[in-house]
């Protein structure tokens, strides 16, 4: 794994905007093609193997959590547990997830699993693929995200209700809107009647006891780029237990998207080479990362090395509790610290996207940097 600096394409902003990528520059540069990462095939195969194996371990861990009724450790409300168990037992349709790895070319460790609302999907699938066509079309890239999304939607058609698929996200976030519209694009290509609706436009029909769209059609299949921990705590949350609609991702993903899964994985699979020791207590760790079980964008993270805090971030998370994971410092490429996001789509590893930061904590100022295989 090597990092190279290169000259960005002429008019790169225009080029990425032509494929629909308008949020390339946020407060600072988000899409950064002044550098790229290069991998030999054997390293890509290691990432692929780890992704596949960790996915299997995660499914076993979900079964364990459900069997042992460990919901309290995940801060999951009691009333929502039947919904989670139903979605698991009935194998409700699921699409995707993204493992975040620390990887230096040889040692690969799981930092966390974004199993419910992973983002950077469009950048990983489309933008970096077009970048490769311009920069080095003969090179390879670990990226079959697009085909796998379309194929997975095709596969799911028989398992969804025979009705339109609604795809939803919040207003006023171009990033979320783009990701959701991209997912809709893939669903349309798979042959689904895929419609967009904002989260706040979803209606609750008190007479029919169903969620309805703006034309009062019952919504039976709903993809939401909106986390369960928000859904269940909002006004319409309790209605989730009443309806037979499929919500994608399914609610059992609430277990995997919670960082409480990390101590469970370590307890079950301490010999797995891709896992870091993780606990619900500090448990003798002298160098560790303290993470809220529910948090986003690297908020409320504390990095401790030999008992001393070396980095920490603020935020509003932590009320639900923390986990402690053995410190695994990201590799340092000249002051750039990459996290490898590895996609699982359907049941298969599908590609990677790299976000790098100027510090050991990957936060909302991280940059997306493309990659290739040589």
């Amino acid at each position: 794994m090597q990092r190279y600096t290169i000259k960005p394409r002429e008019n790169w902003q225009q080029k990425v905007e032509e494929v629909g990528f308008e949020f390339h520059t946020l407060e600072e540069t988000y899409w950064d093609e002044s550098a790229y990462y290069s991998f030999p095939m054997r390293e890509i195969e290691l990432i692929e193997k780890a992704t596949s194996e960790l996915w299997d371990r995660c499914l076993e861990a979900v079964q364990y959590v459900i069997d042992q009724k460990l919901y309290a450790q995940f801060h999951i409300p009691q009333w929502f547990i039947p919904n989670i168990e139903k979605s698991w037992n009935e194998d409700a349709p699921a699409i995707y997830g993204r493992f975040d790895f620390s990887f230096d070319g040889s040692t690969l460790k799981l930092l966390e699993f974004n199993a419910d609302t992973p983002t950077s999907l469009f950048e990983g699938s489309i933008v970096q693929w077009y970048w490769l066509q311009d920069v080095n079309p003969k090179a390879d890239q670990f990226n079959s995200i697009h085909e796998k999304l379309v194929d997975t939607w095709k596969y799911l058609i028989d398992y969804l209700h025979p009705a339109p698929l609604y795809l939803s996200c919040v207003r006023d976030s171009l990033e979320d809107f783009t990701t959701t519209q991209y997912m809709r694009d893939c669903a349309i290509q798979a042959g689904l009647d895929a419609r967009f609706i904002y989260m706040d436009e979803i209606g609750w029909d008190d007479g029919r006891r169903e969620f309805v769209d703006l034309e009062e059609n019952v919504m039976l299949n709903i993809f939401k780029l909106y986390p369960y921990e928000w859904l269940v705590n909002e006004e319409f949350g309790p209605h989730l237990k009443e309806v037979e609609s499929f919500w994608i991702e399914p609610s059992w993903k609430m277990i995997l998207s919670n960082k409480a899964i990390l101590p469970i994985l370590w307890k079950l699979f301490p010999d797995c080479p891709y896992l870091l020791p993780a606990f619900f207590e500090q448990n003798g760790l002298t160098s560790y990362v303290k993470k809220p079980i529910l948090s986003r964008e690297g908020a409320n993270i504390e990095l401790v090395r030999d008992y001393y805090t070396i980095e920490h971030t603020g935020g509003e998370y932590g009320e639900e509790g923390f986990i402690y994971q053995q410190l695994c410092e990201l590799p340092d490429f000249g002051g750039n610290y990459p996290v490898v996001g590895s996609w699982i789509i359907g049941q298969e590893p599908a590609g990677i996207g790299i976000r790098e930061s100027n510090s050991l904590i990957t936060d909302n100022k991280s940059r997306f940097v493309p990659h290739l295989i040589l």
């Binding site: 032509e18 085909e147 809107f177 519209q181 904002y198 706040d200 007479g207 006004e235 986003r296």
Partner: protein, 105 residues
């Protein structure tokens, strides 16, 4: 080979383009969906050619019979949609999305 061989997007660029159009300057338009409601300011949609707000039929079922109550548009505010029209109360909206910022995870 690991990479995609061919990628096609069917709706995305058009959807994003429509979403990021700049609002036409200098005009203010106010609308309401119900005569019992207050007017609210609306934003232009499109390439400066005018205003487009989709108004959907709005109603409810009572004893298995559908009663039309009026119209509703997502382009205008809640208070401009409902006003004091009690029939519009059967279907409520806005119960999701209040944690409204990017999920970014």
């Amino acid at each position: 080979m690991k990479k995609s061989k061919y990628i096609q997007l069917v709706i995305l660029t058009a959807a994003i383009s429509a979403c990021t159009q700049k609002e036409e300057q200098g005009k203010q338009v106010f609308m309401r969906a119900d005569s019992t409601a207050n007017y609210s300011h609306v934003h232009s949609v499109g390439n400066g050619m005018g205003y487009f707000c989709a108004f959907h039929a709005y109603g409810m079922y009572r004893n298995g019979v559908y009663h039309r109550a009026g119209f509703y548009s997502s382009s205008i505010s809640e208070r401009a949609n409902i006003g004091s029209n009690g029939y519009k109360g059967t279907i409520s909206r806005g119960g999701f999305g209040s944690s409204s910022f990017s999920v970014s995870s």
